[in-house]
Symmetry: C2
Subunit: 308 residues, 2 copies
């Protein structure tokens, strides 16, 4: 089957009419809304590395879209469309049908449209998705805006996906297979949060990006980080390894002034957990029940055998 057969059979129906040119020409064409900036990102999922080899294809499709929408959410952007670069070892029509259904389900839930793609043969199953979205000029919530005295907030329980990866068929499996990008929360935080990102590589490493880019430090109260019941039963070190370095959470982590947090909570009902504060001294200190805690952790490294 040629590339264009795959794309037209499995994916063309995802292109709706309000796209100027969708799948089937050299490029897609869309009309930007007036006075909006274009927000774009790309994320790749490699079989056996970003998801277990036995992950159901519907979940692979869902997750491939979700992790990119999570990046858009982390800016406060409104998602619009995706382009799909799919590399497959061979053509398995049942697999493709399920995979494309997973793509479509996530796109539909978040009002996103597939506008273009490229399919090719490769020894390694790999899905690279580019997500496009819109935001009002100079509204995006960057990593660099955290201020001393801001509160550090996360949008949900942390470490669940990492637990599921290590405990197959646990009740937390769905958090690994079907992450829910916090798109509505990201947009609601425009004008409130001072810095934001999504937690994909582990809370410690990702929060570190905010601290580095904002030239500040943090004090984290580990007992305030929300966890699922399965994690609460683990010993402290094992739990903190999953919470701080597990990755694949796709919750938002943001900083916000105490005043703004109070106002935001009065107007919005999102699940939010305050886990620490931004400090002047440029290190990240961990406390557990008022005691200093020294976790032995490393965030997710994209190259496992890294030399530095």
């Amino acid at each position: 089957m040629a590339e264009f057969s795959i794309i037209s059979r499995y994916f063309q129906s995802l292109t709706p009419q309000n796209i100027n040119v969708g799948i089937g020409d050299d490029c897609a064409i869309i009309t930007p809304p007036a006075q909006m900036q274009l927000v774009s990102c790309v994320d790749t999922l490699i079989a056996g590395r970003h998801f277990p080899l036995n992950t159901p294809p519907h979940a692979i499709g869902w997750k491939s879209v979700a992790v990119n929408l999570s990046d858009l959410a982390a800016m406060g952007a409104t998602p619009h469309s995706i382009l799909l670069a799919l590399s497959l070892p061979d053509i398995d029509e049942a697999w493709l049908a399920e995979f494309s259904r997973g793509i479509a389900d996530c796109c539909q839930k978040y009002g996103v449209q597939l506008i273009g793609g490229d399919t090719t043969q490769s020894p390694t199953l790999s899905i690279s998705i580019t997500a496009l979205g819109w935001i009002k000029p100079d509204q995006a919530i960057l990593r660099s805006g955290a201020q001393v005295g801001d509160i550090i907030v996360v949008s949900g329980k942390i470490g669940s996906a990492a637990y599921a990866l290590r405990h197959p068929h646990s009740p937390l499996q769905h958090t690994l297979d079907y992450p829910e990008p916090q798109v509505a929360l990201g947009q609601a935080l425009l004008g409130y949060a001072s810095a934001m990102l999504d937690i994909s590589d582990g809370l410690a490493q990702d929060l570190g990006h905010i601290l580095d880019d904002s030239a500040v430090g943090a004090l984290l109260n580990l007992e305030q980080i929300p966890v699922a019941d399965e994690l609460a039963q683990l010993d402290l070190n094992t739990r903190m390894q999953l919470v701080l370095a597990g990755g694949d959470d796709y919750h938002l982590c943001f900083t916000i002034s105490p005043d703004n947090l109070k106002k935001f909570k009065q107007q919005h009902a999102f699940e939010l957990y305050s886990i620490g504060t931004i400090q002047q001294q440029q290190t990240c200190l961990y406390q557990y029940q008022q005691q200093v805690f020294h976790p032995q952790i490393l965030g997710y490294q994209h190259f496992a055998k890294a030399s530095d």
Copy 2:
């Protein structure tokens, strides 16, 4: 080395100041020019499939950008920026330095900016690039506009890259390693050409897309298709296999009315070759020196062992 180290060390310098947010945050942000449509595409290059394993990394970088700019050129769009999804078996700093230099050189030649990326580890070297560009509303040259009586034109010698693939170290090697996307020609043809695409999978298969999408046929005069001296010396069938089914040409193939072609040539000095005409009957007929020719060809198939 973590992902963000690779991106910041090798690629951050490619992000210039006129991007609102470039490499280093969750997403990139750019401001669309007023009254322009966004043109986007994605193409993946897999090592050993889209380029020989011994291809110099500088050429891999160049070609990864060029094939995507060629898709933008095929719409008549003005390229603006790219996002890079790079999957690597391991970190080879010399390789990365050369690869990123190839990316930068192609970007610089065509005025394009790298605004985002994702680097991850994979058993297979794979480069997936998303290209973004702009075009005035309803100006794009689609595949579907060919009219009966139009002339079929190509922008340069065809089959050279396919020859080079089969004859390593030939004088045509640079056409395989360093394709030149026809960006200026694509833009100049706005308002003149009726249908257009770039020849990536072989002239016969790619022209077939124009014919299918426009519901027309063609008569091709094979002796009018320009070839390099190396191909002119081959027997007719071997030559036509390379010309019609070789792929990797990255020249433009377009249709244009005789009147428009005359006007265009009066105003522009681009290298152009008329190779046939659009016919009403929906087949593609090949002639060689006024004789009907039946080539045994197939365009590049993205899945080699396809079942249909």
